[in-house]
Amino acid sequence: MTPLNRSVAPTTSAISDISLPKAICEIGPSDIPVYWLNGSTEEILRLEFVFNAGISKQKQLLIASATNSLIQEGTLTRNAREIADGLDFYGSYLQTRCAVDDSQITLFCLKKHLNKCLGIVLDVLKNAQFPENEIDIYTKNSKQRLKVQQQKTSYLCRRAFYKEVFGEQSPISSFSESGDYDKISRETLLGFYSQHYQNSIKYITISGDVTREIISTVQEFGGNFTLDKSINSYHSTKGQTENRYIHKPKSVQATLRIGKKSFNRKHTDYRRFQLLNLVLGGYFGSRLMKNIREDKGLTYGIYSSLESYLDDGCFYIEADVNTHKVGIATAEIYKEIERLNNDLIPEKELHTAKNYFLGSLLRSIDGPFTIMDRNRLLLDYGLSENYYSELFTLIKETSSEDLRTTCNLYLNKNSLVEVVCGG
C-alpha cells in the first residue's frame, strides 16, 4: 500500500445540476391554490396559510403585526387558553409571522393529529375576537420588549438605515415607538382581520408526509375562503441619502451598516449581484471576512446581504466592531469595494465562490420544508419554474469581467449610505 500523501487534495467533482423538486399545485372546488410537496417518512406535516396581510397593507403602524399575533388569543367559542391547550395537547405548534409582503399562520403537527388541529385553525381564522384584556397584555409586553431592543446598537442602526434608504413611508422602514402601541384599538384590529384574514386567503402549502386524503381535507378547508389576488405596491422613490451617526453612550462596540436601495429578485441582474455579494461579504471566505476579521481581528463577524421584497430591495454590509476601530473598518470596507470595481477577481477565487454558491443552493433544498420555501420564492415573485436550473447555468458562465461590470453598475462608493451607532 502506498503511504498516504496528505499534501495532495482528494479530487472533487463539480455539482453537475440542481433540480428543485416542484411543489404541485391543485386548485380544489374553491379557487384557493393548495401547493403540496411530499418528502418525509416521519409522519410530520407543515401547513402554511398565507394571507395578503403584511405590513404593506396596514394604514396604521403595528396593525398588521398586532392582528397576526393576537389572532390566536380568543374566538367566539374558545378563549386564548383553550386554543393554546387544544394545540399543545396534540404536540402541535402554531406559529404566526408577519412580514412586509404577507403574513402567515404555520401549523406543525403529526399527521395523525391534523384534523383536530385544523378545526382550531379554522376557528381562529373565522371567529377571532381580539379581547380587550388580551390586547392590553400584548401592548404592555410589546412595549417592554421594545425598551430592550432600543438599548441595542444593532437595532438602532438597522432602524436608521432603513429609514435613510427607503424613507419614512415605506413599509420596510415601518418601525414604531412606544406610544404607537397605545393607539391600537380593538375596532382597528377587527377591521384589518375581516378585510385580510376572515374571508380571503392567498394560498396554502402542505409539506412533509402528504397523502391524497390530506390534500382533499385541506382543499375542503380552503373552500371557506375566496382567493385574495390583491398586489402590493410601495416602491420608494427617496432620492438623496445622508450618512448618519447615532450616539449611544458607553457602548463597547459600534454597529455599522453601509448600503443602498437596490432591486429585488425579479431584476435580470439580481443573480449576478448575488454572486458579487458572495465574493464581497456573503460567506466565511469573503473578502470582508478575510480582511476585517481574519486579518485584522476588528470584529466577530462582518457580512453583506441582498434583501429582496416584492416591490423593492436593498444591499448592505453590517458588522459590530470595536468602538475605537470604526474608522479603520470603514476605510477597509471601501477599499474592498474599490478593488472589486477596478480589478478582476482572480480565477481561483471566483471558482471557489461559484462552487460555494452552488453548494449552498444544494444545502438549501435538504428536506421538504426548505424545498417548499424555495418553491414559494418562485411563486411569490412570479419566476419561471426553470429559475434554479437557469441560475445554475448563469452562475457557471459568469466571468470576472461580468462581475466587474455588475460592480461598476451597482456598487459605486458614492451611492452608498453609512449608518453608525455606538459610543
Partner: protein, 383 residues
C-alpha cells in the same frame, strides 16, 4: 467531529481557552493551509461550537465530495501549523465576540453572573467564553500546543458521518485518513463535584438595563441520571409554550411578567433548571420570586395533571420527529449519544420520555426545585 474537551477542562486561571482553541482549528493545519477555502471549492460549509463539556466541529458538503472532509478534518487532528499570527488575530476576534454576545447588549451577562453564584468548586463555574477577556489576552502559543496534543487525539474524539454514503465506504475512508494518526495520552485536570447547596444564594445586579429581571437557577441531576427525563418534562410543564403554567398563570392571569421562561441547561454533568423573567412595571423582585416559588409549591403539593403530562409527552414526540429530518441533526444527535456513552439513545430516547409518570414529576420537583437549592439574580433597572 466531536472532541471530548470543553470549558470544564480548562485551568481556572486560563478560562475561555477551549473556545479560543476552536477558532484556531480553522487557522491552518500541517498540510492544509486554508481549511475553509478547500472546503468551499468542494461546495461545502462548516462551523463549530464549544460547550462546557465538548467541542463540536461539523461539515456539510455534496456527498460525492465527502473525501475532502476526511482529508481536512483528519489533517487538523494530525497537527495544526501553530501560526502565531492566527493566534493574535483570533484573540482579538474572540474578544469582540465576548463584547458582542455578553457585554454590548442588555442582560448579555446573565451567565457571567449566574454560574459563579451556583458553582463554587465545579468548573461549570465559568461560561465557555471565559471569565474575563484578560484570560484570552494572555494565551500563548505554548498553551495552544499543549492543549492540542493533550486533547485533540483520535482516542478523545467521535466521528459521525450521515448522508448518502455506504458503511463500507465510510470505513474505508476512515481507515485511510484517520487510521495512521497515533493515540495520544489524554490528561484531564481533576476537579471536584459540586457539593449539595444548603442555602439560597442571591446577588443584586445594578446594570444599565431597561427592565427589572429575575433569574433563578436550581441545581439538577446529570444527563444520565434516572431523574433526567422527568426533570426535562417538568420544565416543559412549567414553562414551554402558551399553555404552560408560567405563561398562563404569571403572564396572563396574574400578569407579573412580560416574558418568562423555564428551561434546563442541558449539561452532561449536573446542570441547572433556570427560571428567567422580566418584571412588569411596579412588580417587586420579592413578589415575582414568591409567585414562582408558589407555582413550584403547588406542583410539590398537588402534582401535575394527567393531561399536562400527556401534552408534554406529545410535544416531545413531535420535537423528536421534526429534529430527525436533516442529515446534520442526525449526525449531531448520534455524536452526543455516543459521547454520553449510550449510542442507542438515539433510538430509545422517546421511550424514556414516554415512561415518565405523574408521580416522578412531583418527586423530581420536590427534590430539585427547593429554595435552599436555588441561586437568584436580581437585575435592577436604571430608574
Amino acid at each position: 467531529m466531536l472532541y471530548k474537551v470543553g470549558s470544564k477542562d480548562e485551568d481556572p486561571e486560563k478560562t475561555g481557552f477551549a473556545h479560543l482553541f476552536e477558532h484556531l482549528m480553522f487557522g491552518g493545519s500541517e498540510n492544509v493551509e486554508e481549511f475553509d477555502s478547500v472546503l468551499q471549492v468542494a461546495g461545502g460549509e462548516n462551523n463549530a461550537f464549544t460547550s462546557n463539556d465538548i467541542t463540536n466541529y461539523y461539515i456539510t458538503l455534496p456527498a460525492n465530495n465527502i473525501e475532502t472532509a476526511f482529508w481536512i478534518e483528519s489533517d487538523r487532528m494530525l497537527s495544526l501549523n501553530f501560526n502565531p499570527k492566527v493566534l493574535d488575530v483570533q484573540k482579538s476576534v474572540v474578544i469582540e465576540e465576548f463584547k458582542e454576545r455578553y457585554i454590548n447588549k442588555p442582560y448579555g451577562d446573565v451567565w457571567l453572573k449566574l454560574l459563579p453564584l451556583a458553582y463554587k468548586v465545579h468548573p461549570y463555574n465559568w461560561p465557555t467564553i471565559g471569565k474575563d477577556f484578560s484570560h484570552i489576552e494572555t494565551a500563548t502559543l505554548n498553551d495552544v500546543k499543549d492543549f492540542f496534543f493533550n486533547f485533540y487525539a483520535p482516542n478523545n474524539a467521535i466521528l459521525v458521518i450521515s448522508g448518502n454514503i455506504s458503511l463500507d465506504k465510510t470505513k474505508e475512508l476512515t481507515d485511510k485518513w484517520f487510521g495512521p494518526i497515533p493515540r495520544r495520552e489524554v490528561k484531564r485536570r481533576a476537579y471536584k463535584k459540586e457539593p449539595l447547596q444548603s442555602e439560597k444564594r442571591t446577588l443584586d445586579v445594578y446594570n444599565d438595563v431597561p427592565l427589572d429581571m429575575i433569574v433563578m437557577g436550581y441545581h439538577m441531576c446529570e444527563r444520565l441520571h434516572p431523574d433526567y427525563y422527568a426533570a426535562d418534562l417538568l420544565t416543559d410543564i412549567i414553562g414551554s409554550g402558551r399553555s404552560s403554567r408560567l405563561y398562563q398563570q404569571l403572564l396572563k392571569k396574574n400578569p407579573l411578567f412580560s416574558e418568562i421562561d423555564c428551561y434546563q441547561s442541558g449539561d452532561f454533568e449536573p446542570g441547572l433548571i433556570i427560571f428567567e423573567g422580566k418584571l412588569n412595571k411596579g412588580v417587586s423582585h420579592a413578589i415575582a420570586e414568591e409567585a414562582i416559588e408558589n407555582l413550584i409549591a403547588d406542583i410539590v403539593t398537588n402534582g401535575v395533571t394527567e393531561e399536562e403530562l400527556e401534552k408534554v409527552k406529545n410535544k416531545t414526540e413531535t420535537n423528536i420527529r421534526f429534529n430527525d429530518l436533516g442529515v446534520l441533526n442526525k449526525a449531531m444527535k448520534l455524536a452526543y449519544a455516543s459521547y454520553y456513552g449510550d449510542t442507542d439513545l438515539v433510538n430509545t430516547e422517546a421511550t424514556h420520555y414516554l415512561g415518565v409518570t405523574q408521580n416522578q414529576i412531583q418527586q423530581v420537583c420536590a427534590k430539585y426545585l427547593k429554595p435552599e437549592n436555588c441561586n437568584v439574580l436580581y437585575y435592577h433597572s436604571k430608574k
